[in-house]
């Protein structure tokens, strides 16, 4: 089944529980710099936007990877990085037009949202319902998928 995160910035209080949960899930530490979801604050905190990969169909990162280190999880539809295979060339980080796959200097690899294998911990941790899990076929993303003019069939 295809899953995606549904994000409603209106409900975000920028508590960063999502970043804590994500980093703990993926590294065993509480370390927001290693979170694959990031909350951005605006105007003294009047607005906040949690932001992560939408698992877009275009899969720019996957197509840009020279060594097939990014694959689609058949169960969730998440595009996920195989850290053993990633050489750290970072091409995906400039290819992804959403900026949601990032290089981590301490591992020498890239990291992105993998939907935690189907139970995204950011959504579990979010106290306000700003992050929920949804079926992308019916959901509208807060950040619209961008059309880059590739593969636009005539």
């Amino acid at each position: 089944m295809q899953k995606a995160l549904l994000i409603d910035p209106e409900k975000c209080t920028s508590c960063l529980q999502c970043e804590l949960a994500c980093s703990h899930q993926h590294t065993g530490m509480f370390n927001p710099v290693q979170s694959r979801i990031r909350v951005f604050e605006f105007e003294h905190g009047a607005r906040a936007i949690p932001y992560t990969c939408t698992q877009c169909e275009a899969a720019w990162c996957l197509h840009a990877c020279p060594v097939q280190a990014i694959t689609v999880n058949a169960a969730t539809g998440a595009k996920q990085v195989d850290a053993d295979r990633c050489v750290g060339c970072k091409v995906c980080t400039v290819a992804c037009p959403y900026g949601t796959i990032n290089y981590e200097a301490h591992t020498g690899k890239v990291a992105k949202c993998d939907l935690c294998g189907g139970e995204p911990q950011c959504a579990v941790a979010c106290p306000t319902g700003a992050i929920t899990v949804s079926d992308p076929d019916t959901a509208t993303h807060a950040i619209n998928p961008l059309l880059l003019g590739r593969g636009a069939t005539a």
């Binding site: 910035p9 990031r38 951005f40 605006f42 936007i49 932001y51 720019w60 197509h63 840009a64 020279p66 060594v67 097939q68 295979r85 050489v87 750290g88 060339c89 970072k90 091409v91 980080t93 400039v94 290819a95 992804c96 037009p97 959403y98 900026g99 949601t100 796959i101 990032n102 290089y103 981590e104 200097a105 020498g108 509208t140 807060a142 950040i143 619209n144 961008l146 059309l147 880059l148 003019g149 590739r150 593969g151 636009a152 069939t153 005539a154």
Partner: protein, 417 residues
């Protein structure tokens, strides 16, 4: 339907896979001139740095990948194309026929025309074979001279330092990576490399190389002399188009292709480093020898070959580089456009630099140093032509608000929709 693809780099491989995805019946032949399983040149520096083994460079790790998709991989080097007869003749004389042909032959290195370039101890770093040769020669403590601090040179640079050699870099242009960095960025990179113990000569070139009994002796344009146990040449690459002479397929720097990745010959397409195609901002066709363009080309060309009429939106020059831990990236028209505004933030002490170039309220180019998070949004902003509106003023004041600008411009666009 018989598809012939010349070249087993990313463009060729992605094209083959895309073809199979759209046509389960077609015959797909992938022709390569290197003995190895299709591999990525992008990964070679990591092989040199001992971060990965040779299998780690393979484009597709599964040994049965091509077989499972009934993509036939054949070793051979194309000698000529007869587009009228729909045939390709290999150097060994064999003739292959096709219904649709994709030329994805990539590029080859160019050595500067100076005396001594054919001496023993001078290596390119382009193929897996080159990498093996360098790995064998570049031992800890040895003097190594790297000719060329362009994109490829800088990637190799990291690997050479990781091998523990004493490295000197010579770049003819006045700064490092001149095609992706401006003066500020190039200077920061140079200072960074020097702080890591690499000697960097910019604005001069190697004029001649002589063989001493023990070592190579290099004469520089500025009169300086360098000694080396190994010289790695990374002075540039050119598209592999020589075999097309007389084929009638129109070429310039590379093979000229249209927005369907079609060449001037019927049923012949070109993709990747060899193709000179449409660019995003609608200017003259260019060769963008970068991984994302190769992937896009391969996919779009294959769709058209399979009969799915697909228009390519044009490639954007985007690059990312890791130079001894300093990450740099560049996007689009970072040199700026006439009449456009520019914003930059430079902190030389911390090796941080961000330059944004605008055309009206649109971002058209960017350079980043020391920037690793959300860098892709620079591509997104440029290529989707996001109107920055009120945010532009803020960006002129502090370019690092770019991610905030991106997020608000995109969410408010949805709100308006």
């Amino acid at each position: 339907m018989r598809h012939l693809i010349i070249g087993t780099g990313p463009a060729g491989v992605i094209a083959a896979e895309t073809l199979r995805g759209h046509d389960s019946e077609a015959e797909i032949l992938l022709l390569g001139d290197e003995p190895e399983t299709p591999y990525s040149r992008m990964a070679l520096p990591y092989l040199l740095a001992n971060n990965v083994g040779e299998t780690g460079t393979y484009l597709r790790p599964d040994p049965k990948h091509f077989q499972a998709r009934r993509i036939q991989v054949q070793r051979g080097r194309a000698a000529s194309v007869d587009s009228q007869a729909h045939t390709v003749t290999l150097e060994q004389g064999e003739q292959l026929d096709y219904d649709r042909l994709l030329i994805a032959t990539g590029s080859h290195t160019v050595k500067p025309p100076i005396p001594g370039m054919d001496l023993d101890g001078i290596e390119n770093c382009w193929t897996l074979a080159d990498a093996r040769a360098i790995a064998q020669r570049a031992q800890p403590g040895q003097q190594v001279v790297l000719m060329g601090a362009g994109f490829i040179g800088c990637i190799v640079l990291e690997a050479l330092v990781a091998r523990g050699v004493a490295l000197t870099v010579v770049e003819r242009e006045p700064r490092m990576v001149p095609r992706m960095m401006d003066q500020n960025g190039g200077e920061l990179l140079k200072r960074w490399c020097e702080s890591k113990g690499v000697r960097v000569h910019t604005g001069t070139q190697v004029d001649a190389i002589k063989a001493d009994p023990e070592r190579l002796s290099l004469t520089l344009g500025d009169g300086g002399m360098l000694e080396a146990d190994l010289v790695v040449c990374a002075t540039g690459v050119r598209p592999n188009i020589a075999f097309l002479e007389g084929s009638g397929i129109e070429t310039d720097v590379g093979i000229l292709v249209d927005e369907h990745l079609r060449t001037s010959a019927p049923d012949v397409y070109a993709a990747g480093d060899v193709a000179q195609g449409p660019v995003f901002n609608g200017g003259q066709r260019e060769v963008h020898a970068i991984q994302p363009t190769a992937g896009d080309h391969g996919q779009v060309a294959a769709l058209n070959m399979a009969g799915v009429d697909t228009v390519y939106g044009g490639s954007l020059a985007i690059n990312v580089l890791n130079t001894l831990g300093l990450i740099s990236s560049s996007f689009g028209q970072w040199q700026g456009v006439p009449g456009g505004d520019s914003a930059s933030a430079l902190n030389g002490e911390e090796f941080k630099y961000l330059r944004l170039e605008f055309d009206g309220d649109f971002l058209v180019g960017a350079i980043g140093l020391g920037l690793t998070q959300q860098v892709g949004i620079l591509r997104g902003l440029i290529q989707t032509r996001v109107n920055l509106g009120q945010w532009k003023k803020e960006l002129l004041r502090d370019p690092h608000q770019i991610v905030h600008a991106y997020l608000e411009c995109n969410t408010s666009a949805e709100a308006a929709a």
